[in-house]
Amino acid sequence: MRSLDYLLRRGVFTVVTIFLTVTANFFLFRVLPGDAVTNLSRVPHATPELQHALMVRFGLDKSKWDQYLIYLKNLLHGDLGVSFTYQQPVTHLLVEDLKNTVLLAGVGTLGAIVLGILSGVIAAWRRNSALDHLNTGLATLVYSFPSQWLGLVLLILFAGILPAGGMSDLFLFDSPPFWQNIGDVASHMVLPTITLILTAYGGYTLVVRSSMLETLGEDYVLTARAKGLSDRRVVWQHAVRNAMLPMVTMVALDLGYVVGGAVLIEVIFSWPGIGMATYTALSQRDYPMVQGGFLLLTVSVILLNFLADLVYFRLDRRVSA
């Protein structure tokens, strides 16, 4: 019952947060300076009638409240409006981008998590050894560089050796055979993914290390040692799983940071993801696109947080009690 309660609580929180985000998303954008219509009407010889027609078309003539209700209603149907720039449904435009971002951020985060766990565990295990110092020092250093800088430096170092932009070779008339395509995308992914991994892994290492250190101080680790278990077994069977709890929280909290990093990285590597779409739309004042991008980015982070709650719940039985 308590477990159900926990899930319900997190579920309600998630829904409320999404609702707040959605609302903020709407109102935030209605106070932007620079009317959408000015942008749209920058066509030669635009008449007031035309301007009005455009206002009507984008629903900008209604009261804010009505606009809000319409916005909510449309949202429920998955309708994020029509892009000012592309004059196409935002949902349609962003779905591809979302997939691309998920690919990049997913592989990047997973890589960072694996690397972070490995290096964090080893650093804690070999606390104060040269290995620990090297490992922790590196993690701290990498963690301290801004993501965009890491991306730029990788570009300087590897442009020419590895694809520097985009996510595949676009100049092909027919889509290449499956594996060739995978290879192509993979080679384009190398630099952005490494940047993302570097952005995130340092933080994970440090968290895993310190939560491992805390865990290694727990009495049950002493018990495990007393049982005559090998160190490896003590670490992986007893300490790691418990040390993972803060890691899960951290990963969840860090998702926002990773997504932020992903925006920067997408911009640098022209990765056709949702971050870049949002960034481009922002400078083009394409409200519906910005709104859509912001919403998708934010809601995915919120949902992933919920997912992290579930993982936490699976990992730590005490939550359910």
Binding site: M1, R9, V12
Partner: protein, 327 residues
Amino acid sequence: MTEALLEVDDLSIHYPIRRGVGGALTRRPRSVVHAVDGISFRLGRGEMVAVVGESGCGKSTTAAAICGLIAPTGGTVRLEGNAITGLSERRLRTVRRRVQMIYQDPYESLDPLCRVRDILAEPMLIHGIGGSKAERSALAAEALERSGLSPAEAFLDRYPHELSGGQRQRVAIAAALVLDPDVLLADEPVSMLDVSVRAGVLSLLDTLRKDQDTAILMITHDLSTAAHFADRIVVMYLGRIVEQGPAREVVHHPRHPYTKALLSAVPRRDREQQAKPQLLAGETPNPVDIPPGCRFRSRCPVGTDDCERTDPPLVTAGDHETACLFV
């Protein structure tokens, strides 16, 4: 029996527990922890009453309610006949001055960032005692001396970490004494201290009540200590008093099966004197849903079906009260 200074009358404290989203949705009734459920006892001037009972039976909660930290769900606490429950924060101030609490862990109950001087001055500042700094220092020094820390000057400027456990507990007692309280509530005052220094602190409390007529309510796990120092013993079980009476009476002639079992389980220095411990089966029921009838029924070695129906009241025999159908 001495005149009652503090009277606790039918005191109940229930902590509501959150029913959570799921509970609210399914309209589950709000449930409460019956931490204390209708207890009454009296404490006279210069008297030391020990409250014993297993962990979670409501001892600390009782003390917190007496000194006004928790508002009781029901019942009253009277100091010299005047109810001190349900008072406004302002009226409570005078009461706070007269009822002082001493906590279990002397490592925790003194602010590590304050010198002994400041720790002792704080109650005076709050209650506007001692006009000047010098005056307060004098009062503080005097309280320290009374608590057995002399010369006081050697201690006034120390930080708590520069004191041993026993000394810390004495400082805590001194901080209570600067207000000249009528009642001291001591919640397991020695359980964190080493065996070798416990006796000193306990003797100090003993002296206080004898010399200054301070009434002391001492909460303890340790029946031997209670037997040794207290005038009266109150035995609690699951939020209720099951037995109370003069210490010697209770220890030598326990009436309630729970008290008997507890006493039999106390290790004795002398192996020969040790009775076979009368082990109770099962576990204490959850204070959230307490079964009807006698609360001790589920673990009672002598209970009958009657106990499931009747919730036994405290029956007085002389000065000794017991809540059991079989007494």
